[in-house]
Each structure stands twice: as C-alpha cells, then as structure tokens.
C-alpha cells in the first residue's frame, strides 16, 4: 500500500510539519524508484524541461502538441528556464524527488547525474520497443553512454568555429583568410592588421580562447593532449594551457584582440549581444549552429572559418549540442521514452524543430531536412561537413560539471594579470581534479 511507503506524499507532508525530522527522511528517499517500463492505459501526464530561447520554447511546444495528437492519453507539460537557472533548479527538483520526466541535458552535466543513478538507461526503452537508437550517428551516440548504459540521447551536434564579419573585412580592404591553411600566427597577424586599419574604431578579434572549455579543448587536442582522460581524471597538460594563455596575452598586448574588460562584458549577453554582433570586432568564437542567431542579430554577412591549424593536427571535435534524458524517478518511463523517440526520430517533430538544437544527430532526419535549409542552416551544416574531426570527445566526468565556470574564472585572473599563467594552470588542474575526487 502507498500509505505505508515512507516516501509517499502524505508521509512527506507529515514529516514536513515536523520540520527537523524531514531532512534526513527526505534525503533517504532518494530516487530511482520510478515506474515500470510499460505503457499505461490511464491518462498520463509528463513533464518536459529545457533551457533556451523563446524561439526554442515556441517550437518545442508546437512539437509537443503534435505528439499529444498522436497519443491522446498523454499530456505533456513544458517547463523552461535560462541556462544558468536551469541547472540550479534541476538539482533542486531531483533533491525533492520531483524531477521532470524528460530532461534536456548537457555534455558537462550528464555524467554528474548518471553516475548518481538519476537517469534511466535508454537501452531498456529500446529493448522494450519504445525508442529507436539505430539511426543516431554512432560517434555522437557514444557520448551519451556511461557505465555501460545509454543514459542520454544526443539530439544534435555542433563544432566550434571562428565566425568572421565579411562586411568588416571588405570595409577595411582585407582578404578573407584561407582557412584551409592558416595557422595561429596568421590569425594573430590578420587580427592585428585589422585593428591597425580600423584606427581605434574596432579590434580585429575578440579574446577567442582561454576562458571557455571549448577553446581549451581545441588547443590541447591540436597538440596531442586531452582535457579529461577515459578514466575520468584530468589529463590536461599545464604547459599547453600556459602556452594558450600566453598566446592570447600577446594578442591583448598587441591590440589584435579586445581588452579583458570587453571580454567580461561580452560574457553572458548571448551571441546576439556581443561585440561581434554589434560590429566592434571581426572575429569571434561560436558554435556553428549559432550562425543563424549571429546573422540575425548583426545583420552583417557573417561567415564561418575553420579554426587555425597547428602542425596539421586535427583538433576539432563534434560535440553533442545537447541531449534528452529520462529521469530515473519518472513514474512513466515508457511514455517518456515515446516522447523522446518522437522528438528525435519523427519527421513531424523535425518539421517544427529544424536545426535549432544543433545539426540533427539522426542521420535520416538530417537528410530529410536538408532540402528545407535556409542559408544560415546551410552554412552551419556545410561547415560541420568540412571539419576534419580528431578523436571523439571524452565527455566531462562526474564532478566536472563546473569546468567551464572554473576556466572562465581562472582564465580571467590570467588575462587581468592577477595570476601568472603557470601558477594559474596548476591551480586550475588541482581544483578541477579536487572536484572530481570529491565524488569518488
């Protein structure tokens, strides 16, 4: 009977009245006590949560309506937030055993959840016939696996790219760089010349590296190193990080890039609001699928360039833009799996969702969508196809979910001259490894 269940709502309510007693009780409930992987005949209500823009919300609601039309006994309630608030809120709902059924998940977070038993192994859903994983690009699919299970399903993919304002290059009489051969030195020289020709109105480039996880990964992979190892420890070579920071310190000092203050102002304003979009700088680091937003926001002829090279070593990596995951506490894992299946595998959903969550990971859906692409979509997809990726990405381990804010903070210390690069590199690795060790 439910009433004897120490985790029933009534028991929790009682415990809540007792106040003090509630904490250990609540916590001991944990989760993973979700329902069976079978469809229900009764009406089912699912909660679906995501982060993102208004456009995404509108499209998702539309796709959900199409799903509900196909499954009359299922209603789906959408919940959405801005990226930062999303993670704060999500952790809290898990703690309260009140997590949404279907969750939009990120590469930096998913192992922090899966390793703690918070997510459903989607292989079970596939075995039960509710979800088809066979059409998902294999290289992407593995990035959703952990401890022998498929705990997250990649929705789409993205790669980092250098966005360039072609109008601005033309205005100052500069040629478009040849991105099939250019090196980091070429990039710095071009940016510096642009700053000089701009006569103080613009800077050639923004600070495009050293304060975010993607650029650090790219730089060290080009030099045969990785941020994380297969065993989930930090394998980052501090000397390479120092080299990266010193490269950008050189650009800041020469004027090829903007100042650290400008960099700080650009963080958190979104790709449409930064100095690249407002025509103050010509080069910026983005993900290929952000090109639509950037072109819309700037109104300029923005293009994507392959990242600068280093000894011909491929450093780029196809990153799952985001995933769907099902909460282990969900009372309706079967219906939740059906919803995920609909969102990633159906043409009806693809018609609405397009490439907004990344270039689709489902290869058949990608083929289906290709004829409908607009110019921005095509730039993003062409770019992705032109990238020669290196080894597949090693996903952020449990305990590493804080890696991006950590790199931002310590990278800023370096660029503001508060910490020497070598000291900062050691500190960063120590702190990151410490967070990972704390979860072991």
């Amino acid at each position: 009977m439910r009433s004897t269940d120490p985790c029933s709502r009534r028991a929790l309510a009682k415990a809540g009245l007792l106040g003090a007693a509630s904490a250990p009780l609540l916590a001991s409930c944990g989760f993973g006590r979700g329902g069976e992987m079978v469809l229900s005949d009764e009406p089912v209500e699912l909660r679906l949560s995501w982060w993102g823009s208004d456009l995404r919300t509108q499209q998702t609601n539309e796709a959900v309506a199409a799903f509900e039309a196909e499954h009359p006994n299922i209603t789906v309630r959408g919940e959405y937030k801005e990226f930062g608030a999303y993670w704060d809120g999500l952790a809290t709902t898990f703690a309260a055993n009140d997590a949404p059924d279907v969750i939009q998940m990120d590469e930096q977070y998913f192992k922090s959840y899966s390793a703690r038993g918070a997510l459903v192994d989607l292989n079970e859903a596939e075995a039960a016939g509710f979800l088809d994983l066979s059409r998902i690009e294999e290289d992407l699919l593995v990035t959703g696996q952990a401890e022998g299970g498929q705990f997250a399903l990649p929705i789409g993919s993205g790669v980092i790219a250098l966005a360039v304002n072609a109008d601005m290059l033309a205005q100052y009489g500069m040629d478009m760089p040849d991105d099939t051969t250019w090196t980091w030195d070429d990039y710095a020289a071009i940016a510096l010349e642009l700053t000089e020709r701009g006569g103080g109105d613009i800077t050639g480039s923004g600070i495009t590296g050293g304060v975010d996880v993607a650029s650090v990964r790219y730089w060290v992979r080009q030099r045969g190193n990785e941020l994380f190892g297969e065993n989930g420890d930090v394998t980052l070579d501090p000397d390479l990080l120092v080299e990266l920071w010193e490269y950008y310190i050189g650009m800041i000092e020469s004027g090829a890039s903007g100042t650290p203050q400008q960099m700080v102002e650009d963080t958190g304003v979104g790709v449409e609001g930064g100095r690249l979009a407002t025509g103050r700088t010509a080069f910026g680091l983005i993900h290929n699928t952000q090109i639509s937003a950037l072109r819309r926001g700037s109104g300029a002829d923005m293009r994507l360039l392959q990242m600068p090279q280093h000894d011909g070593m491929p450093g780029n990596f196809i990153k799952p833009s985001m995933y769907w995951a099902v909460s282990a506490g969900s009372e309706h894992p079967a219906e939740s799996s059906l919803l995920v299946d609909f969102l990633v595998n159906s043409e009806a959903a693809a018609d609405v969702l397009g490439t907004e969550r990344g270039v689709p990971a489902n290869t058949e859906i990608l083929e289906y969508l290709t004829p409908q692409f607009d110019e921005s979509d095509r730039i993003a997809v062409d770019y992705l196809e032109a990238v020669v990726p290196g080894d597949p990405l090693i996903v952020t381990p449990n305990g590493g979910s804080n890696v991006n804010p950590l790199i931002t903070r310590i990278g800023q210390e370096v660029y503001f001259g508060e910490t020497a690069p070598d000291e900062a590199a050691e500190a960063l690795i120590d702190e990151l490894q410490g967070e990972i060790d704390a979860t072991k």
Partner: protein
C-alpha cells in the same frame, strides 16, 4: 503616558488580560505555522546537513566536522569573506551618513517634503531588485551612461563593472544609493526630538553645528543604532546585486563574490549542499557576532532619553 508605563498597567491586571492573550494566540497561529514550516524547519534541516556530504542526488553522508575543517583551507571562501567584509564595512557607514545628512536637510522644513521623501525613498524599494541590477550593469558598462557623462567632461571612462579593480565599488555605490529606508527612519527620529531643547540651546547661543552635535546627535543615537544593526545584517546577506551584475559568477576574478553568492554556487552549481549548509551557519555566526558586538558597544555611545 509612555509605552512602558502602559505595559506595566497591563501586567498589573492579569485577569483582564487573559482572554485577550488567548485571542492573540489564535491571531498569531498563522505566523507561528509559517515560522516553524518555512523558517525553523529548514534551519534545523540545514543544521543537520552542515555535518554531511550531500550532493542533492544521493542521501547525505555524515562527515562530522569535515565541512568546517574544509573552511580553514578554502581560499575562495577566504576571498569571498574579504569581499563581503569590505562591502559591509564601506557601504554601511557611507549609506547611513548620507541618509542622516539628507534627513537633517529635509527636516529643516523643506517645501514639498513628502515629494522629496518619496523620491529619495524610491531607490530603497528598487535597490535590491533584479531590474535595477540589470540597469546598473548597463549604466556602468564601457559604453554605458556613466562613461558618456564622464565623456562630457573629457574624462575617459572604463568598464566599471568588468574591471576587477572597480567592480566592487560600483556595487557599494548601488548599496549606498538605497539610503532611503534608513533616511525615513532618521526623519521619524528627528521629529521626536522636542523643540524645547533646540530653543534652549539657541538661547544659550549655540551655533547650528553645535546644536547638531550636542542635541540632535545624542538624542538620535538609538535610531542610529537601530539603523546600523539592520543595515549591517542586510549588507551581509546581499545577493541579488552581485548575482545579476556578475551574471552569477561573482566575477570578474571573484571581485564581487559575496559570501551568499559563493554559498549559492557551492550548493547549486557544484552539488555541494552539505558544505553550503555549513557556510550558511558560518554566515549566521558572523552576523550574530557583529550584532552582539554592536549591542555591547551600544552601552558606550547610545543615549536613551527616558
């Protein structure tokens, strides 16, 4: 009759007071329920959690004093304490000084007092809000209103909020700007100072400055004390401004990492709720200590006129 005399009267007449007490109990009940359910209950829970390792996703594990030992060597905690103390110790005196100065000016019987009072009070209502923090971020940006203003005088500005050297100062300015609520309390206090003291002082030939120093200030000390305690507690708990202005990071370079923001990051960003709970208790102890010191010191400078 003063309030204390009135109380004495009530106490002397117990039989009459009883039914009123009962009624009072029922009227207070909703408040008590709230106190237990949303304040004391969670506090007790957080007290327990402060002795555990709790990642929100799995049951907490008891670790004894582990979290408190960790505080001793946590450099980010120390720097966040530095930021918070600087913020409290600089912004509260400035804010109270400004509030008192304006209250004294307004008390001179300015025409349209109600209007000015409202205008000066407005920032207090808005100051801790998200909208104002967003506005502040824009005004003090490199291309913000503040730099445009400086530009008129040929001064070249900087990114006030994006520079670690000045970011905290802009937040202090924001707090000082919300001087309205202590100002209104000062105004009420000034109104209670009997006019006869000023008349007597004037007859004795005291200058306005002397009258302020020898009449206004001493009689206002209880109000100053009250505002001081309240504003120190408020300032220690500041969160919204730094959260919005720094985009939740406490940056640049942790220069605006308020204690409460650091606590929030540990708890919700790093799945480290046990440590965050311990930090919350540390904050309570710090605020308690400051308040205790305030009360102890008040014996030496606060003057009660009764």
């Amino acid at each position: 009759m003063t309030a204390t005399a009135e109380l004495r009267g009530l106490r002397g007449d117990r039989a009459k007071a009883k039914p009123e007490n009962k009624a009072a109990f029922w009227f207070l009940l909703p408040w008590f329920l709230g106190l237990f359910a949303v304040t004391l209950g969670p506090m007790a829970a957080s007290f327990y959690l402060s002795f555990t390792d709790y990642n929100l996703l799995q049951p907490p594990e008891f670790t004894g004093l582990g979290n408190f030992e960790r505080m001793l060597t946590d450099e980010r905690l120390h720097s966040s304490l530095g930021v918070t103390f600087t913020y409290v110790l600089v912004s509260v005196p400035l804010q109270l000084g400004l509030a008192l100065a304006l209250a004294v000016l307004l008390d001179r019987g300015v025409r349209g007092l109600a209007f000015y009072r409202s205008v000066f009070y407005l920032p207090s209502l808005l100051g801790a809000s998200v909208a104002i923090a967003v506005l502040w971020r824009t005004v003090f940006g490199t291309e913000g209103l503040f730099n445009e203003g400086l530009g008129l005088f040929g001064i070249e500005g900087r990114g006030w909020i994006s520079d670690p050297e000045t970011a905290l100062s802009t937040l202090i300015t924001l707090n000082v700007w919300t001087f309205g609520s202590p100002m209104v309390i000062f105004l009420a206090g000034l109104r209670q100072i009997p006019a006869m003291y000023y008349e007597a002082a004037a007859v004795d030939g005291a200058s306005p400055l002397r009258r302020f120093a020898s009449v206004t200030l001493p009689l206002l000390t209880p109000i100053i004390f009250f505002n001081l305690v309240l504003q120190i507690i408020n300032a220690f708990q500041s969160f919204t401004q730094a959260f919005i202005v720094s985009g939740g990071t406490g940056g640049p370079v942790d220069s605006t990492l308020f204690f409460s923001l650091f606590l929030y990051q540990r708890g919700f960003g790093n799945f480290d709720m046990g440590y965050a709970s311990a930090l919350a208790w540390l904050l309570l102890v710090i605020i308690g200590a400051f308040t205790a010191i305030n009360f102890w010191a008040s014996k030496y400078w606060v003057y009660y006129d009764d």
